[in-house]
């Protein structure tokens, strides 16, 4: 029984990790309708920045938030403004895919150039210490990630539902042409949304860096799972992404323990494919609707 609970706890912790990486991707996809293939590289850059802040400036990893989050926000907003927006204006909605894939590759190579292929380990400052919660043991840093992921989802939902800007962001997602007629500066809101999405993954980076090694390819693994989570949750649904992340975390953890650790990805992607076929709108998406984001 205790083993089962431990595996369950591991799954939930892993789910929290996937959730915090996916939230920003969901937001960007749901509103701007851009699949940001460079999302993982945003994460990787955030992790390196955290590493630099902790080792170079002697900051506590959490203090690195004040540096990493604004930098990532800017990166996101500039990506939208300087890369995606001109392409959208040119009227080609497919080329953005190549653009973000290109950006992804460029960022990986930039990281190789600057940091080399070696692994950077961010000092954990106690975040790798285990805590006992009843019969299970997890890491302090994992609990923090789960808590922040949940808080981030809640905060984003409140922002979208209650604030004027949040309402305008939803309006743009539901009907871009009408939003323009309301006097909404759509390009500005797109840049803002992209920035917020990137800031979310910046937050994730700060929390992940003390637990996982950082390398130029760090983003690749996480982002693959993030795409699964986003599709599973119902494209553009933030709450759905959170639930989808926990589900994937559980599948990963249970398969790894009860079947074989080699089978984890087989199980995750098997479930992913099954859901794509049986419920293309995602587990938590209401209908096949691509033009909205639900809070």
């Amino acid at each position: 029984m205790d083993v089962f609970l431990q595996v369950l706890a591991n799954g939930i912790m892993l789910g929290g990790l996937f959730a915090i990486v996916s939230v920003g991707l969901t937001l960007i996809f749901g509103i701007v309708k851009v699949v940001n293939f460079a999302h993982g590289e945003f994460l990787m850059i955030g992790m390196y920045l955290t590493y630099l802040a902790v080792t170079g400036l002697g900051m506590h990893p959490f203090a690195a938030l004040i540096l990493v989050v604004p930098v990532l926000f800017l990166m996101g907003a500039l990506t939208q403004r300087l890369l995606i927006q001109p392409l959208l204006a040119a009227g080609d909605h497919h080329i953005q895919i190549f653009a973000t894939v290109g950006l992804s590759t460029a960022l990986i190579n930039l990281a190789l150039l600057v940091f080399g292929a070696d692994i950077a380990n961010t000092p954990p400052h106690g975040l790798r210490m285990p805590v006992e919660i009843g019969p299970v043991r997890v890491l302090v840093g994992q609990v923090v990630i789960l808590g922040v992921a949940a808080a981030l989802v809640g905060a984003l939902q409140l922002f979208l539902a209650r604030t004027r800007t949040g309402r305008a962001i939803r309006a743009v997602a539901q009907n871009r042409a009408a939003a323009e007629l309301m006097g909404i500066d759509v390009d500005r809101l797109y840049a803002l949304t992209f920035g917020i999405g990137a800031a979310c993954v910046g937050t994730a980076a700060v929390l992940i860096a003390p637990l996982y090694p950082t390398s130029p390819n760090s983003g690749t693994y996480f982002v693959l799972i993030a795409f699964v989570v986003v599709v599973l949750g119902g494209l553009g649904s933030i709450r759905g992404a959170f639930a989808g992340a926990i589900l994937i975390g559980l599948i990963d953890s249970f398969t790894g323990f009860y079947v074989s650790s080699d089978m984890r990805e087989v199980a995750v992607f098997g479930v992913f494919l099954a859901i794509l076929i049986l419920r293309p709108s995602g587990l938590f998406g209401r209908q096949l609707r691509q033009s909205h984001v639900s809070p």
Binding site: R170, Q174, N175, A177, A178, G183
Partner: protein
């Protein structure tokens, strides 16, 4: 209030409007008549700042507004109630109306405006907390008009407000348009029901293949042979 001078506009490389010149005076109700694809919607979208003129000039309240963007035109006081209603389906009616008062000047008075607008649309008041997507076509059109009025526009443009509605509902929409006109609003309207619109309007323009071919007082257009044959089916 509004003047277009020899405006050319279109999409990408295709020019749709050729040398369109028209004017709307303060308090005037003006209509544009034309067949499908003549460029009526394009004209309204150009005025609203959603399509950039490639040549010619647009003046609004004495100022050159050529090439301003959509939100800049809303700030100037120009609002378009678009063809096909274009509500935010996953938002409540109230949220839709509040989006209408998004720009600062309108927002500062949004409570007051909301009361005024709802007085004009009692049916909309009953539906305030419902999702806009769940309303009937007629109700959606009412919300679209109410949302346009939330901006407190100086110039209100309608694009086919009766399109796709049942005859009874069409009558209700016309009634609302008539009431708005009676408040002294400045209106530019495109409407497939040419007969009704010409009776409400002061003046009209006839647009064919992106060119203005005729303009006159509305009453005169009602008697014009070409208009009667081509657009009134008489």
């Amino acid at each position: 209030m509004l003047t277009l001078e020899r405006v050319h506009a279109g999409y990408g490389a295709t020019t749709i409007l050729h040398e369109v010149s028209l004017a709307v005076g303060t308090g005037e109700v003006v209509t544009i008549i034309g067949a499908n694809g003549a460029g009526k919607t394009t004209t309204l979208r150009t005025i609203a700042g959603l399509v950039r003129p490639t040549a010619g000039s647009i003046t609004f309240e004495g100022q050159d507004v050529t090439g301003l963007t959509g939100h800049q035109m809303v700030d100037r006081g120009v609002t378009l109630i678009p063809e096909g209603r274009q509500l935010f389906p996953e938002m409540t009616v109230r949220e839709n109306l509040l989006m209408g008062a998004y720009r600062r000047a309108a927002r500062e008075r949004q409570g007051e405006t909301l009361d005024e607008v709802l007085a004009l649309f009692p049916r909309v008041r009953e539906r305030l907390d419902q999702n806009a997507g769940s309303l009937s076509g007629g109700e959606q059109q009412m919300v679209a008009i109410a949302r346009g009025m939330m901006a407190r526009p100086k110039l209100l443009m309608f694009d086919e407000p009766s399109l796709g509605l049942a005859p009874i509902v069409v009558a209700q929409v016309f009634e609302v348009v008539d009431r708005i006109v009676k408040t002294g609003a400045t209106v530019l309207i495109v409407e497939q029901n040419v007969f009704h619109t010409l009776k409400v309007a002061d003046r009209g323009y006839v647009l064919e293949n992106g060119e203005i071919v005729l303009t006159d007082a509305a009453a005169a257009l009602l008697d014009n042979d070409h208009v009667r044959r081509a657009y009134l089916g008489i």
